[in-house]
């Protein structure tokens, strides 16, 4: 067995050293009545060539974004990934390492994560970012508890323009904590400022918005920040596509207290939903309430710079029940991927990518809007996603588009029954004008 090196003579040598007769002797501490007396009933072991063929067959039973022009976003984005990313971030020296508990041996990983934290701060204009969370949704869930903890208040307001899955996760995360969650409605595709003002109370820990929000609309973060800050509450801003920050005003500049986000669009594969990358960043003052790991820069005994996991007293393995969070294993590799991605794009590349998204999405928005029967649902400016009201059910549109090699947008009925005719279309820099025209062309026939 290629993964088990121990040969029968070696096994016998070890048994002799241990002083037992056979391997079974090592399992006598397990009550006999629960010892399995049969092999596990699993499909037969497959040799590598057969297994690879089997895995290829399974993979080919999926129609991935290499085979379709993807206009689907809604929290997972088909951005271009430079070749450097897999070649470097998936180097086995990174891939098969554990959490850097022995800092002196793991300077590479630690430095890379320190740099990742710095990049997240640069992108969001926040002071400090952690080493990663599970994903954007759970990071947002953790941010809600963090806000309650920071403010010692018990209520969290959720914009209904926040990704529905994020809202569901946040509610699940807080369901057994002394936190009440209430919705703030979106009007015309953006969080209602009036409703927010009306909803916020002296017990409000935070308002959670997303910008660009689930409908693709850019929120008036500044006004919302003022509104909640006026009552001593915090503003949590979720970013579902950080590429937008190549072009858009970063939340740290308009008053966000905690920024969360989904780092998948930064070089992480779509992967049918995971592993993804939870981003969380905040102000310096709140750092000791941050969940998850943090890498800090320090020096060695000879004065050389070096990196360590730090502020660990926040964490469960020291503070146990009083930890800021229970997170242990995080998404370090995905953070590394994001770092390599951002290093490669660099200062100019992230702007270029964001600019292409905005321009192509705008072109698509206009092209679709010019098809009779179709209209853009909401007037606000959008980045790379927008909602279309359709004359035929979006599911049907998608079915037709598939025949033309296009993966259509998300039908919104599953999340917003009131938006049953709505279709959330995403256009990244990967989409070509030809693909957009092909999509619009098909709509002509569907009205």
């Amino acid at each position: 067995m290629k993964y088990i090196p121990t040969t029968p003579p070696e096994r016998d040598r070890m048994l002799r050293t241990i002083g037992v007769r056979n391997v079974e002797d090592l399992f006598r501490d397990i009550p006999e009545e629960v010892r399995l007396t049969r092999d596990l009933d699993l499909p037969a072991a497959m040799a590598d060539p057969d297994l690879l063929a089997h895995m290829r067959r399974l993979a080919e039973r999926n129609t991935d974004c290499d085979r379709l022009a993807c206009f689907l976003g809604a929290g997972a984005y088909d951005h271009f990934t430079p070749s450097t990313v897999p070649h470097l971030a998936l180097k086995p020296e990174f891939l098969t390492a554990y959490t850097p508990y022995q800092a002196e041996m793991m300077q590479g990983e630690l430095q890379a994560i320190y740099e990742y934290q710095s990049m997240m701060c640069e992108l969001t204009a926040m002071d400090v970012a952690n080493a990663s969370m599970y994903d954007g949704a759970s990071a947002t869930g953790e941010a809600a508890s963090m806000a309650a903890d920071l403010t010692k208040r018990g209520e969290v307001l959720l914009s209904t323009a926040l990704h529905p899955e994020y809202r569901q996760v946040l509610r699940t995360f807080t369901s057994h904590l002394p936190i009440t969650v209430r919705d703030v409605p979106a009007v015309d595709g953006v969080t209602s400022l009036a409703a927010a003002r009306a909803a916020v109370t002296d017990d409000t820990a935070a308002l959670v918005i997303q910008s660009p929000n689930f409908f693709g609309c850019i929120e008036d973060g500044e006004a919302l920040a003022r509104t909640v800050h006026d009552r001593g509450a915090l503003l949590i801003v979720a970013i579902s596509d950080p590429v937008s920050l190549g072009l858009l005003r970063p939340p740290g500049e308009y008053g966000a207290d905690i920024v969360t986000g989904e780092g998948q669009p930064l070089g992480n594969a779509l992967n049918f939903g995971g592993p993804y990358l939870g981003i969380i960043a905040t102000r310096d003052a709140s750092v000791r309430r941050l969940p998850g790991r943090l890498v800090g820069r320090t020096v060695d005994t000879e004065g050389r710079p070096g990196y360590v996991l730090t502020l660990q007293t926040r964490e469960q393995h020291i503070r146990r029940a009083r930890a800021t969070s229970n997170i242990c294993t995080n998404e370090a590799l995905n953070a590394l991927i994001a770092a390599v991605h951002l290093a490669t794009l660099g200062r100019q590349g992230i702007q270029h990518m964001a600019d292409l998204c905005a321009r192509k999405a705008h072109y698509a928005r206009s092209a679709i809007a010019s098809v009779p029967g179709y209209r853009i649902a909401f007037p606000s400016p959008t980045f790379n996603e927008f909602v279309v009201r359709c004359p035929v059910p979006p599911v049907e549109i998608n079915r037709r588009l598939l025949e033309h090699g296009i993966l259509g947008g998300l039908p919104l009925d599953q999340f917003y029954p009131e938006l049953a005719d709505c279709w959330l279309v995403c256009v990244t820099e990967r989409r070509t004008r030809e693909e957009i025209d092909r999509l619009a062309g098909q709509l002509e026939a569907l009205r």
């Binding site: 096994r11 090592l26 430079p82 800092a103 041996m105 320090t298 969070s325």
Partner: protein, 502 residues
Amino acid sequence: MSAPKPPVTAARAPALRKRPVPVIFERGSAGRVGYSLPASDVPDVPLDAIIPAVHRRARAAALPEVSELDVVRHYTALSHRNFSIDEGFYPLGSCTMKYNPKINEDAARQSGFARLHPYTPEDLAQGALQLLWELERDLAEITGMDRVTFQPAAGAHGELTALLMISRYFEDKAERRTTVIVPDSAHGTNPASAAHAGYNVVEVKSDSRGNIDLAALRTVLTRDVAALMFTNPNTLGLFEEQILDVARAVHSVGAQLYLDGANFNAILGITRPGDQGFDVMHLNLHKTFTTPHGGGGPGAGAVGVRAHLAPFLPVPTVERVGQRFTLSNDRPKTIGKMRAFYGNFGNLVRAYTYIRTMGGAGLRAVAETAVLHANYMMRRLREHFDLPYDRVCKHEFVLSGRRQRDRYHVTTRDMAKRILDYGFHAPTIYFPLIVEEAIMIEPTETESLQTLDAFIEAMIAIAREAETDPDMVRAAPHEMVVTRLDEVTAARRPDLRWRPKG
């Protein structure tokens, strides 16, 4: 960026390997690029007409300005300042640092999986759904559970998922229970998860054989207890011999028995938690099922439940309807969702590939060999270090560095740092908390006898060094790219990010 300081003479020169690598922000120069994107192919429109200036960023983010080669050099250099399974032995107790098969990577990186959008219509994702459905069946068989969810991204996430299901279960029965019991040997995530699920945490101590103290458990087991979070084999690497009594006791007050399955490598195909009386459990697929740790994550924390808890599983679940696989949200009593989408799918592909490689008998051989290796090492090391619990261990065992600390003022931390100089990762140290100066060693089944022997001899040599040259051990490591790092200052004056100059 200025040139790295050159050595002047070999003796005086800073060793090549000990030269710091500048942060990526300090490589490169203004205006340099390492990316390539096309020009826009759509008609030009003033940006203001698309997104008003008020919503746009005024200053570019100060990301690196580097060439592609700069990027390559930087991350290659960092990759060589690391330690990984592919490079050497990693006996981190509780972490099951076994070999991560390359074939798993090949399977998972296929575009049919890696480039699949989570909202792809089900008909176009049948391969992915079939894989999830099969993997659920496999893990149910392996654990003796009835259903399995893959939403949790890691073990701790699984713990929280399970506890929220337990809460919903009691809610559904209109019972209010506020307490979760956790042994004093438990991993820190157990109490943390319980707290984050809104429970009071009560700790129960271990007995002198390293089992949970059954009498102590019984005294805290009331109808207020929602669950006992139990690790078996426990974090001492010992099988909880009274597991059946524990299960009976827990169930006798109507509480749920939760298994922290981090140590599953010891019992694969040997015994099943479902048969032992556990109601719910998590597996760390990134431990037992060979998915790579990635320097800290991602993981995948499958949670299995017995049928009575299945109504509370997070949505969606994968169901089979005829020959078709589908995502179902039809679970009225669900706790909701633990994350967006369905789980760390990429790792699930790897775990599936591994299970298909091994088959049932192969998995049993894993556990047998892992336990054999641990007992062999324990046997050979026990005379050189204190062994607080002297019985047959499972996949790992815990030594104590008390002797070295008391006699030579050399701590477990010092010895761990010294191990690095020998080219091995250190064991887990200072955990579990109930063992003073704990040294927790988990060899796994994928390491060879030659490697085990080399590590054993290094440990013995270090025990000797602690006696003969304690100062040297206290100053370890000597062979890494840095000497010992100042963690105290790091925590006192945190420097958590690079900042642009000026």
